[in-house]
Amino acid sequence: MNQNTHSQANIYWLASYPKSGNTWVRAFIANLLHEEPEPVDINKLHTGAIASSRAWVESALDFDINELSHDEIDLLRPAAYCRLSQQMETPGYHKIHDAYTYLTNSEPLIPAQATKGALYIVRNPLDVAVSFANHNHCSIDKSINKMGLQKYSFSSSTKGLHNQLRQWLLSWSKHVVSWLDAPDLNTLVVRYEDMKQTPLTTFTQIATFLELPNNKNQVTEALEYCEIEKLQMQEAQKTFNEKPAKTEVFFRKGQVGDWQNILSDSQITTLIDDHREVMQRLGYLNVHGELSTTPSYNQET
């Protein structure tokens, strides 16, 4: 994939479908950059605003965008990201749940000129389906259905104002492919399963890609501070600001393969039917289309 050489490209996008480990990566980055010998407060994971933050995008423009339609705002977003990137003195690490899409004028939503790199975090859709149901406070069948919708979006109501801009997620498969095949971006793809199973290697790779401190001690310490149990412990003591109001807990289990205890055979079949090709591409299904017991993925292939 192309390395881009734009001098004003200061944004690292932390891109993922929801419930794929994005907050874990942000907690890791925050702890890596944190100088105190204690874990960062879960309500202070200030690695950079989310791409869809209305306030962040509006801060780059000079007029109110609240009375513009979703499509009109989207047309302004590339220029806003370029401006925000230009104003940064150090790289910013910005979460994004939008798929990599093209606007009505054919420009990409995410401008290469503003992008230093895109870290794409992907997780087995069978586990995503379970976690996404908890997050959306809906049944697993509904969550599976949403993941299969070709034009699924967040914050897309036209009847009120949301502090998040509309985000096209598309389907789970389309989301993954949109980022993996995005042209002109310097992209690193990491799988949640590798973050869990070989944390030191995978997070060192992440830190290196994001130009963050990457020696073994620093990575190990940051990883200890953001272990799921520690995040859960913090959440037990105080409300996590990013938790949807109806969701009981944000940091739920963080396990790999929990779907095996929860999904029915028909739910598994639906997810595989909906996402076979991309699951194979990511190593979640083997070449015969069967669920991999030890999935592996090499993004160079």
Binding site: R54, A55, S59, A60, L61, D62, F63, D64, N66, E67, L68, S69, E72, L75, L76, A79, A80, R83, S157, T158, K159, G160, L161, H162, N163, T239, N241, K243, P244, A245, K246
Partner: protein, 300 residues
């Protein structure tokens, strides 16, 4: 040419401004003119931003696909429409961003908020867009309170909020929540599901001293929090809730603005309200605020 009144000023406009009160005043304080605006910006900008340029007494603004605007000396707005743009959209930016800049240029303090009459004074609901300022103002209006301002609470040098436009702009969901019949309202722009709710009765046409400001916030929990902010801690919330605060430096008004914020801080009671971000009873919030207004002794 039509003449209107808002913010205690007489506005002469080339464009019809149906949201405003008409006036017979011969004196002209502000002119809104359809004319040519330099597409490149100002001759000598102090600040150049993505879509705007600023200098002392000058704002140049381009809203893509809508219009170019040139706002100067606190008394003139020149507007040049982009091809294919509609008048409603242009008017929204005239009455919002441009009029905000005019008021800054006239050294008025502009708080991003709605004002309602309480007793012999008024209180302002301020906060980021989407935090429920207009919803609250409309709910209070339904309870018989008079409205002074929607979105732009313009405070003059005597510390009084000047009446703005006799309408509240409401999103579809808000109008529904307030049980307002949407089919009777006009959309503020055809592109969005937001409506002009006219305040025929109960628009306060006289300026009133500002007594309190509530800063609206929300969180993902069930409780309503009311936190009084005292002393010097009042300064930052006032600064941060100033309308288009990022224009002030370029307009050369930062110093005056600080002074105005300090003066206002001494004049008002300030309370931060945090409400649930999910579904909540609007009536509960209104009643909590009424109880707080009583505690603040503002009904006298």
């Amino acid at each position: 040419m039509s003449t209107y009144t808002a913010f205690g000023l007489s506005i002469h406009s080339d464009m019809q401004l149906p949201a405003l009160l008409r006036s017979n005043n011969k004196k002209i304080d502000i002119q809104i003119i359809r004319g040519k605006v330099n597409k490149k910006g100002l001759d000598a900008p102090e600040q150049t931003r993505l879509f705007s340029q600023l200098a002392v007494n000058e704002l140049w603004l381009h809203v893509p696909n809508i219009a170019w605007f040139y706002v100067s000396n606190g008394n003139k707005i020149i507007v040049e429409a982009e091809n294919g743009s509609d008048e409603q959209s242009i008017i929204l930016y005239i009455l919002g961003t441009c009029m905000g800049a005019i008021m800054h240029q006239r050294n008025r303090l502009v708080i991003h908020g709605n004002a309602i009459r309480v007793g012999e004074g008024c209180v302002v609901f301020a906060g980021q867009s989407g935090n429920g300022k207009s919803t609250l103002a409309a709910a209070f209006h339904q309870r018989g309170y008079s409205i002074l301002a929607d979105d732009l609470a313009v405070i003059d040098e005597q510390g009084k909020v000047q009446p703005s436009y006799p309408q509240i702009k409401l999103w579809h969901d808000t109008a529904k929540k307030l049980e307002i019949e949407i089919s009777r309202l006009k959309r503020i722009r055809l592109q969005i599901d937001k409506y002009a709710y006219p305040i025929k009765d109960g628009f306060c046409t006289i300026p009133l001293p500002i007594k309190a400001i509530y800063i609206l916030n929300n969180h993902n929990q069930d409780e309503f929090l009311f936190e009084p902010i005292k002393g010097i801690a009042k300064f930052n919330p006032l600064k941060n809730n100033t309308y288009r605060i990022n224009h002030l430096d370029g307009l050369g008004l930062k110093k005056q603005h600080f002074k105005r914020c300090s003066q206002l801080a001494n004049q008002i009671q300030l309370t931060r309200i945090t409400r649930p971000n999910d579904s909540f009873e609007l009536n509960t919030l209104v009643e909590l605020i009424e109880a707080d207004l009583t505690k603040k002794e503002l009904y006298v």
